[in-house]
Symmetry: C2
C-alpha cells in the first residue's frame, strides 16, 4: 500500500487562468519519485470556505498527505496558513524567532527600494510569522515560511504541507519538507513503483490502442500494469507504472510495442528528443564509434525564435549551439541568411527551395556543422489554397553533403503550428545526426 | 446570484505533470465572460472512482454546471463518457448516426496512413459513439464527440459538459455547447460581473498590500470588491471583480492605486505590455500625434530566441518585426550582429557595452527603426562574483538617436532568468516607443 497524496493549489489568479500553475506538475513529479500515489489536484481561489472544502475532500478520500501551494504572501487575500491551522484544529500563534528571521530577510530589500516605508512593510510581513501551534517551520527562501502541519490528533487526517506560490521558493522548501520528522511520519509505508516511458513520433494515438489489444491477445496481462497513453506536442507517449515484482509483465509488453513500432519509437529510456539531440551533438556513441562533437545553427521564419529557444533550453547548450537568424522578413532572409532572392521570387518564401536555402544559410553564415531551416504559414492570416495555414517546410543541412527536407501540414492555431513545427524540426535534426552516428546505441537509426 | 461552475480535468498525464493543462485556464476565462462563478478546478487521473469522487464533490458544493476535459479518446483508459453517464443516472446507448459521422471523419485519415488496419480502427472508435441516453451531442472537431449531460431528474445536480482533451478540439466545441438548450437551461440566472485589471512593473507585491490598507483608511469599502493581486512574470497584476452597481467603489479604489503608483502602472485597460508594444510600433496615438509605423529587430544572447518568439506571438507581427540574430557564440555576435571584437575582449560578452553594440547591430544589420540587445548569464553555470547568474544587460537603440540601457539581477533558475529578461526587454522597448509618442493616451509617458 503506497501513501496517497493530494495537492491543493490556491490563488484566484491560477483558478481564473491568468497565471499558469507550475507547482502542481512539479510536485506531482516529486511525489512519484517518493513512491507516493497522487490522487487529486484541486485548484481553488482565495476564498477560505472553498480552500477548506478542498481540504475536507482530500481528508474524506483518505489522503495521507496534502500539499498546498500559494497564499502565504503579505496581502490580506493570502489566507492559507490560517485556513490550514483551523482545519487541523490548531490555534494560531506568533513565532517570535520567525518574525525576527523575516525582518532580517527584508533588510536588503529595503536598500533596493529605499523609498518604501520600512515599518509598514514589516507590519504587513509580521502576518507571515503567525503560524498554527505545533507546526514545523520551513525556513523561508523568499520572505514566506513554509509549514508542515500534522492533525491535532494522531491519525486524525492528513498531514498538510504548506508551501509558497513562487516556484523558485517552493522547490527548495519542498526538499526541506521531506527531511522533516513530521512529513516522514506521514509518509511511512510508501512503496516505490517503477515507471517506464516509451516515446513515438509520427503515428496517430489510435495505433497504440490497437497495440494494447494485440499485447493482450498475445497473453500480456495488462491488468498488472497501469498504462497511460497521451499525445504530447505531436509525440505519442506511453507511460507504464508497476510494482517491482511485475517487471517481467512490463518487459513482455515492451517487446510487443517495440516490434510493432520499430520505425517510430525513438525513446525507451525516458529521454526526450531534446536530450537526444543534445547528446548526439556532443558526440555521444559507443567508444569505437566516437566522433568529434558537432555544432548547429538555425535560420527560422514562422517559428519566430522558438526553435532557437528550444535548442538553448538545456544548460550548457552553448557547447553546440552557435546561434540563429530569425528571418521574419524577406530582407533578412536574403541579407542575413544568404537566401538567393530569385528563389523567393520563383517559389515563394514558404517552399522547399527556401527551406533548404535557409538551412544552408544558417550553416554557412553562422559557421556550424549543421544548419536547420524552417519556413511556413503560422496563421491565422497568410494562408492560400496552395499554401494553407499549417504548411511548414523544414530542412536540415549537414553534417556531410546530405540534406533532409520535409513538409508537414500541422493542425491547430498559431500557437500549435509554431510549437509543433519545432518538434518536427527536432526529430529531423535527430535523424540527420543519427545518420552520422550508426549504431549509436539509440533505439533505431 | 450567479451560477456556480466547476472544472474537472481528467488524464493521468496531466495529473502527473507530464502534460501542461491548457484547458482549465481557457475554460475559466470563458466562464468569466459568461458571468459564471468558477469555484473549483480538479485534476484527476484516468481512474473511474477518482473521477466520480470529483464529480460528487462538485455536486455537493452546489455547482450548477461541471465541465470536464479529456478522456474521450479511443483507448481503454478514456472513460469520461461512461463515468459521467453513471454519475447522472443515464444508461449508455450506441448512437448510430454518431457512429456513421465518426466513420466519415476517419476516412481521410485512412488515406494519410494507408498502412493502418481500417476495420480495427473503426472498432476502436466505435466506442466513441456510445453515449449516455438523453445527452446532447456536440459534433466532433477531431474524432471525439462532446456531450451535454443533464441530471436524470431535473434539479438533481449539476449539468455536466463533456469536452475532449486537445485544445483545438475543445475550444470550438465549447462554443457549440453554450448554444445548446441543455446548457442554457443550467446557466439561467447568471449575473454579469465586471472585471478590471491594473498592471504595474518594477515594484514588489508588498507595496500593493500597503496600498490596499491606504485605500481602506481613505474610506474605500473594499468588502464590496473582490480584489486579487499577483506577481506574474515580474509584473504585479491587480484584478478586481465586482457587481455592476459597485462601479463607484471601484473607481474610488482605482484612483488611490493610480495616485500611489503613477510611475509603475503601465496598464489600466487590460492590455498587456506585448499588446502595447505592438500597437505603439503600429503608430498608435491620437490623430494629431500620429506618426508612421516603426519596425524592430533583436540581437539576443542569453534569452536564446525567446524575445524574438515573444515579439512574434501576436498574429500580424510581420508588420513590424523584421527579424532577430540569436548571437549565442561570440563569433555570431561579431560576424552577424557587428559587435566590435575589442568590446567583448575588453568588457566581456555580458556588459553594458556589448548590450548596446547588440542593439545597434540589430538595428543596422536588420535595417529596423529600433534594435534591442540582450546579453546575460542565464545559468546554472557561467556565473562569477562580478557577473553572477541572473545578471542581464538590456539595451534599446532608436528610433532616434537615443538609447535606453539597463542591467537587472534576476532571481531564480535558468527558466526564470530567461523568461524575466524578456519581460524587462518588453518594458524597455515600450519606454523607448513612448518617448517617441508623447501623450499617446497611455497611462504615463
Amino acid at each position: 500500500m503506497s501513501a496517497r497524496a493530494g495537492i491543493v493549489v490556491t490563488g484566484t489568479e491560477v483558478l481564473t487562468g491568468r497565471v499558469t500553475d507550475r507547482n502542481g506538475p512539479w510536485l506531482a513529479e516529486r511525489l512519484r519519485e517518493l513512491g507516493v500515489d497522487l490522487a487529486f489536484t484541486a485548484i481553488v481561489g482565495d476564498r477560505p470556505q472553498d480552500m477548506e472544502a478542498a481540504l475536507r475532500f482530500m481528508a474524506e478520500r483518505g489522503m495521507d498527505v496534502v500539499l498546498t501551494s500559494g497564499g502565504l504572501g503579505p496581502t490580506a487575500d493570502d489566507l492559507t496558513a490560517e485556513v490550514v491551522g483551523r482545519f487541523q484544529g490548531r490555534p494560531m500563534v506568533l513565532d517570535a524567532a520567525l518574525e525576527e528571521r523575516i525582518a532580517e530577510i527584508l533588510r536588503p530589500l529595503m536598500k533596493r527600494w529605499p523609498d518604501l516605508d520600512m515599518d509598514a512593510i514589516r507590519a504587513s510581513n509580521r502576518k507571515q510569522a503567525v503560524i498554527p501551534d505545533g507546526a514545523t517551520v520551513l525556513d523561508p527562501v523568499g520572505t514566506a515560511p513554509g509549514l508542515v502541519v500534522p492533525p491535532a490528533e494522531p491519525g486524525g487526517g492528513p498531514t498538510v504541507v504548506v508551501l509558497p506560490g513562487p516556484p523558485r521558493e517552493l522547490q527548495p522548501m519542498w526538499s526541506t519538507a521531506v527531511e522533516t520528522q513530521a512529513l516522514k511520519a506521514a509518509l511511512t509505508g510508501a512503496t516505490t513503483y517503477r515507471q517506464k516511458t516509451l516515446r513515438m513520433f509520427g503515428i496517430p494515438e489510435s495505433e497504440i490502442a490497437l497495440t494494447l489489444r494485440e499485447a493482450e491477445s498475445e497473453g500480456v496481462d495488462l491488468d498488472k500494469l497501469e498504462v497511460t497513453t497521451c499525445l504530447k506536442r505531436g509525440e505519442v507517449e506511453v507511460v507504464t507504472r508497476y510494482e517491482p515484482d511485475r517487471q517481467e509483465v512490463y518487459e513482455a509488453f515492451e517487446r510487443v510495442v517495440k516490434a510493432r513500432h520499430a520505425d517510430t519509437l525513438f525513446s525507451d529510456d525516458g529521454t526526450t528528443v531534446d536530450e537526444q539531440v543534445a547528446s548526439l551533438l556532443r558526440g555521444a556513441g559507443p567508444p569505437e564509434r566516437s566522433r568529434p562533437p558537432l555544432t548547429v545553427a538555425v535560420a527560422e521564419s514562422c517559428t519566430g525564435g522558438l526553435l532557437s529557444a528550444r535548442l538553448t533550453e538545456l544548460p550548457g547548450s552553448s557547447d553546440y549551439f552557435k546561434g540563429a537568424i530569425v528571418a521574419y522578413s524577406n530582407d533578412v532572409k536574403i541579407a542575413q541568411a544568404a537566401v538567393p532572392p530569385e528563389l523567393i521570387e520563383r517559389h515563394g518564401a514558404v517552399s522547399q527551395e527556401v527551406a533548404e536555402a535557409l538551412a544552408d544559410g544558417a550553416r554557412t553564415q553562422l559557421e556550424a556543422d549543421l544548419g536547420v531551416g524552417v519556413t511556413g504559414v503560422a496563421g491565422p492570416g497568410g494562408g492560400s489554397e496552395e499554401k494553407p495555414v499549417g504548411l511548414v517546410w523544414i530542412s536540415v543541412a549537414g553534417p556531410g553533403e546530405e540534406r533532409l527536407t520535409r513538409s508537414v501540414n500541422l493542425p491547430g492555431g498559431r500557437f500549435d503550428v509554431r510549437d509543433r513545427a519545432t518538434t518536427v524540426a527536432m526529430h529531423l535534426l535527430r535523424r540527420a545526426l543519427l545518420a552520422e552516428t550508426p549504431a549509436a546505441g539509440l533505439p533505431h537509426s
